[in-house]
């Protein structure tokens, strides 16, 4: 070998992921300037990649696929509902979709988690009636400590490019986006976690917004609830 380097011995530990984060950063910086070590890493990488496929085959449980596909299909449907035939889709094919997707996915995860922990309505859940401006819509808010969820029926399905967005208004301050956005199925019933903390006197509101959601409401609330 024509070139050599004192640090070449570290390359094996590097490709095996056996360096501490600090050592790894140092070695990566070194790799940028040392050809001998880069070659050593390339040479040893093949063996490390082979280790990824060495474990005895074990079949994943079928529920894993069911769980993942349920999440993925719900995300995909939301994306389609949010961007559909909207003109924004042509101008910004991806820009809006991902934040909405992430927010929707997070909301879905929170709802699932809450349902799992809750398993029904405990005695410490307070129900607050909401007023609605659209005929046929009924809504209430379930508050547990500083968390709230909005339970609604009779919501109409939105045109492509529109989403429902949940807001929290504290005192005289402007309504804050709660980070909860959703589309709704034909039957119009849904329960949505408000994932911003809430307290007594706060208002939880629902508006229709252009996808992927707005920083401030652009339409009048469909639902308003003042927490007690």
């Amino acid at each position: 070998m024509i070139e050599d380097c004192r640090q070449r011995e570290t390359a094996a530990a590097f490709v095996l992921g056996a360096l501490t984060p600090h050592e790894r950063d140092d070695f990566e910086a070194h790799l940028a300037t040392c050809r001998a070590c880069r070659r050593e890493v390339d040479r040893l990488d093949a063996g490390a990649h082979a280790l990824l496929v060495a474990p005895d085959p074990v079949a994943p449980p079928p529920e894993l696929k069911e769980r993942l596909m349920a999440t993925v299909r719900a995300d995909a449907e939301l994306l389609r509902a949010a961007s559909g035939r909207d003109a924004d889709r042509v101008r910004h094919p991806r820009r809006f979709a991902r934040p909405l997707l992430a927010a929707a996915a997070f909301a879905a995860a929170v709802v699932v988690a809450v349902l799992a922990i809750d398993g029904g309505s405990g005695s410490d859940v307070k129900t607050v009636a909401a007023t609605t401006t659209v005929p046929g819509v009924r809504a209430h808010v379930e508050v547990r400590g500083s968390t709230a969820r909005l339970v609604m029926t009779g919501l109409r399905r939105l045109r492509a490019g529109k989403v429902y967005e949940v807001w929290v208004k504290r005192g005289s301050a402007a309504p804050e986006p709660s980070g909860t956005f959703f589309a709704v199925a034909d039957h119009g019933a849904t329960t949505e976690e408000v994932h911003a903390g809430v307290g007594s006197g706060d208002q939880v509101m629902l508006t229709v917004e252009p996808a992927p959601g707005s920083e401030a409401p652009t339409t009048d609330p469909v639902v308003t609830a003042t927490l007690t």
Partner: protein
């Protein structure tokens, strides 16, 4: 959930004929059917690795779910220039499994690993993908079996156990320099063996 569900349907033939890299482009566009094809192709190898590392079905499923969601939500920046989709995905699985292992104490890690090896359900290996997988795993296992125990142990503790070279040195009562040397010699030998086996077939 509020969202209307699509009726589950079998992935189309057309998607199944696409390469992983092409499917990734579809996934980036939010195509759940393309995602399903990638899941069917790689969930077996991903789960086997996660199971080997975490040693138990629950944590293994969690790790694999996280990794595939990272793929779907495009949060881990796949770059085709830096290697195959499979190696990228398995790299995420390994990182998540190491994170999961590091959240438990050294003692628990060793205990779960031993328990998990006893009660796992072997893959019956019926489909073509599974048959190819089984052959692939056996090839690498055969190459690993050639290594001296000390070298294999250092490699496995690092790669599957998520231990650092200094932790391994403590566990095995050897200087860090010796452990690094065993890792290098072991990987070199593994590479050579794999090259020999590939030439022979």
């Amino acid at each position: 959930m509020a969202l209307p569900r699509l009726r589950p349907k079998a992935p189309s033939r057309k998607l199944e004929s696409l390469a992983d890299e092409e499917l990734m482009l579809q996934v980036r566009g939010g195509d759940d059917a393309a995602f399903e094809v990638l899941y069917d192709r790689h969930s077996g190898v991903a789960y086997s690795l996660a199971h080997r590392m975490t040693g138990a079905p629950g944590p293994a499923a969690e790790v694999v779910q996280d990794a595939f969601l990272a793929l779907w939500r495009w949060t881990s920046g796949y770059d085709p220039a830096r290697g195959s989709v499979r190696n990228w995905l398995l790299g995420i699985v390994r990182n998540r499994a190491v994170d999961a292992l590091r959240r438990t104490s050294v003692h628990q890690r060793q205990t779960t690993n031993d328990e998990g090896l006893a009660d796992r359900v072997p893959d019956p290996g019926r489909t073509d993908i599974e048959v190819v997988r089984r052959d692939e795993a056996r090839t690498v296992q055969a190459a690993l079996a050639i290594l001296p125990d000390a070298q294999r142990r250092a490699i496995e503790l690092a790669y599957y156990g998520g231990y650092s070279h200094t932790e391994i040195a403590d566990m095995l009562g050897a200087p860090v320099g010796t452990i690094k040397g065993r890792m290098r010699l072991g990987l070199e030998k593994l590479n050579n063996e794999l090259a020999t086996i590939r030439e022979a077939t």
